[in-house]
Amino acid sequence: MRWLKTYADRCIGCGKCAEVCSTTYFKENNGACSRIQVTDPGAVRTLSVCNQCGTCIAVCPTQAISRDKNGVVQIDKKKCTSCLMCVGFCPTGNMMAYAPKQSEPFKCIACGLCARSCPAQALELKND
C-alpha cells in the first residue's frame, strides 16, 4: 500500500508541503486546499494527512470511493454526490472539503510531491 508517512519531529513548519499540494491540485496557494495540514499550536507540531485506512469506503453511499491498484484510497468524482459523510466519518479528519473550489471532498492520494519538496525529510512516501 502506498501512503505518506510523517515525521512531525523533523518538521520545521515552512509550509512548503501544503503549498505544493494546494498549487498542484487547485492552482493556488491556499492552506484550505491542501490535503496535508501542518498545525503548530505551540508545544507540539502536528502533520495531519490521510493514512489510507479506508474507513470512508464503507461509508460512501454511491461507492464513489475505492482503493486503486497501489492501495491508495481514491474518490471518483463522477460518482460522488458531495454528501460529505466521508468527511464526517474520517477517523483522522483528513477527508477535506472546500466549497469555494469544488463541492466534492478531496484527500491525499499519496502522490509524493510534498515529500519531494520537504526540505527537512519530514515526509516519506512509503510502499509497504
Partner: protein, 725 residues
Amino acid sequence: MTHEKIAPMKVLQEWSYVRSPIDRGYTRKALYVNVGKPDMQIREIPQETIDAFTGGRGFGLALLWNAVTEDTKWNDPENELVISGGPLCGITQYPGAGKCYTVFLSPLSEQTYDSNSGGYWGPLTKFSGFDAVEIAGKADRDVVLFVNGDEGKIQILESTLPESNAYTVTEALHDYLAADEGDKVNISVVSAGKAAETTLWGCLNMSFYDPRRKTARLKQAGRGGGGTVLRDKKIVALVVKYSSVKGTENNPVDLSTLQKVGVKLHKEIRDLDNVQCRMRKVGTPHLNEIMDEYHLLPTNNYKFGQNKKDIGKIDSYTYEKIFTQGLPDGCWYGCSLACAKAVDHYEIQTGPCKGRSVTVDGPEYETVASLGSNIGVYDPLWTVEANFYADHYGVDTISLGTGLAFVCECYELGYLDKAKTNGLDLSFGSKDDLMELIHRMAEGTDDFARAVGLGIKKMKKVFAERYGADGAVLEKIGMEAQGIETSEYVPKESVAQWGGYYLTLKGPQHDEAWLIFMDMVNKQLPTFEDKAEALHYFPNFRTWFSLVGLCKLPWNDIEPADNHVRYRPQDAARVPEHVQNYVDIFNAVTGKQIVKEDLITMAERVYNFQRLFQVRMKHGNAEHTIPARAMGPVFPDEWDARKEYYDDKLREAGIAPEGLSVEEKIEGLRGHRLEQWADLKDAVYKRRGWNKKGIPTEETLKKLGIAFPEAVAVAKKYCRPEDEF
C-alpha cells in the same frame, strides 16, 4: 427477488418539456397530469404561493384546495395525489433531506391527508424540473406515468406489468428503464399493490436502488390510503428518471454553510449515535424495549403497554442480529443516520412469494409493535414476513396492525368466530391465521377480509350490523379517530399525548407531537397551559419539516453531547442547536434570512390552512374525538394489570377506590379523564387561535397572512358567535 422481464409498454401519450433549472431550492413549476383525459400542463408556482406555503406539504395542500370542492370524494377523478419535496429536498450535505409529501383526500378520513416518504422520488422529480407533481383523473386501463427528466418527456405508458404488487413492479421498472446496472440508481418508482385495490389502507411505496445489495428498496408514504387513491386512478406506478445527481442540484446560495453544518452533524452521529439511539445499527427499533419499560408498547390492542415475559424476543438486540450491519442505509444520499435497515436473504414462508429469497425493508419500530406486540405476536421473523407482504401488497403496516389488533380483540370477546371469519382463528398471537388473513385481504375475494380492509371506523359498523357485536364496546376499543388507526404508542396515561394523537390535523399518527416523556415521565408539562403550549410548538415545528423536504429523525434521534447541560429540560427537548442548524441550512439554500421563530410562523400558516381545509371538507364538523381505550382502561383486566397505579390515579382524581368494584373504578377514572380531555381541548384550541369548535378564526388567518378570500369564506361560513372563546 427475481422477476420476469416485462413486455414493451405502449406509449399512450407523450409530451415534451424544457426542464426548469433549480434556483435556490425552487424550480417554481408544478407538473400537472390528468391520466384520464389525458392532459399535461406545467404550472407556474407564483411567489405568493411560496411565501404562504413554503413548499412540500404546503404546496400539496394549496394545489389540492384548488382542485376539489367541499363535496369531492376520495374516489372522484378530481381528487389528486400531489407529491412535493420542498426547497431543501435533494440536498445531500445534511442528513435526512430526501423526503417528499403526498397530499390527497383520504378514503379513510374523507378529508385531506399528507403522508411522507423517503426514497428518491422527491429529489429526482425536483431535479427533473418540478417542485410538485399533481396527478388527477382516472385512466381507463392500467398505466404507468413516466417523468423522464433526462430527456424532458412525460409519458403515459400502457402497463404490461404482470401484477400491481410493489416489489414486482418496482424491480421490473428499474430494470426496464435502466440502460445498465449502474443506471438503476437514477430511477425511482412509486407503486402500491394488490391490497391497495381491495382495502382502504393502500400505501405508496417509493423506491431507491441500493447498489451494494443490487436491489430496489422501498420506503413508504404509508398512512391515509394514498395507495388506494393511486390504484383507483388505475395507475400501477409513477416513475422518474434523472441521471448524474450532483450535490449542488438545488443551486444553494451558500454551499460552504451547508457543508459546515452537515459535516458537524455527521461527526455528531459518528461520535454519539452508538451511545444514544443506535440508529445506525437498528434504526427505530431501538425503541422496542424502552417503550415496553414505560408501559407504552401497544400490547393486545393497546390493552396493555408492557409484556415483560416476551419483550426479550423482540427487543432491539434481537433485531440488530437480523438486520444486515455495516452498510450505508440512508434512504437518500448523505443520511448518515442510516436508519433504513434491511433484512437480507430472507426466505419467504407463505403466500405467493413462498420460497423466494428477498431483501425486506424494516421492520421499523411501528411495525414491530403493530405487526407484533399489538396483535400478540412475539416472533420477529413473522413480523419480517408480514412487513414484506404489507409493502408488497401496498398496505400500511400501522393501520394493518392496529386494525388486526381490533379484530383479535373482537374475536376474543366472542363477536367473531370461525364461521364469521371463514375459518380463521384470530385470537391474539394466532400468527398463522393472521398471515392468512393478510393474504386474503390482498386477494379481495373473502367477504370478511374485505370488511377488515375498510378500516376500524367502518369495521365497527359492519361488525355491529352484520355480526351483532356491541357497538358501544366497539367504540371504546376501536383505536381510531378521524377514520385513521392510532399509531404505536400507548397514549392513555399522558394527557398531553391525548392531544398529540387526537387533537391533530389528520388523525392519530406520530407525525405531530410525541410528548409522553415530557409529560408523563419527566413531568415538564404540569398545567393545561403548558400542555397547550407544547401542543402548539411541536406540531408546528414538526410541520416545518414537511414544508421543506426533511426527515424529522436527525432532529432529535441524535442530540449534541451537551444538549442537556446547556439548556433547561423543556428547551433541551427542542434540541436548540439542531433547530439552529435548520435555520442555517434553510438560509444557505434559499438565500433568505429567517430566524428560528420564523420556522413556527411558516408552519403555522400551513397548519391552519390544512385545519381549515378539513373544516371545509367536513362541512364545518371536523370534530376531534378520542376512543376510551386511548385514555384509560376499558376492561377489568387492564385495571388489574396495574392495580396500584390505577388506584392511585383514582385517588389523585379525588375518588377513593376502597369499596368500589373494578368496573366502578374504571367509570370513575373515565369520568375524570373526560373532563381533562375537555379542558385540554379548550386550552389547545385557544392557544392555536381556533374557536371552541376547532375552527381557525378570521383573526388567526389575518395574523398569519393567509386570509385568502376563499379561506376567509370557509371560516366565516362555519364560525358562529356562540363558539368564540
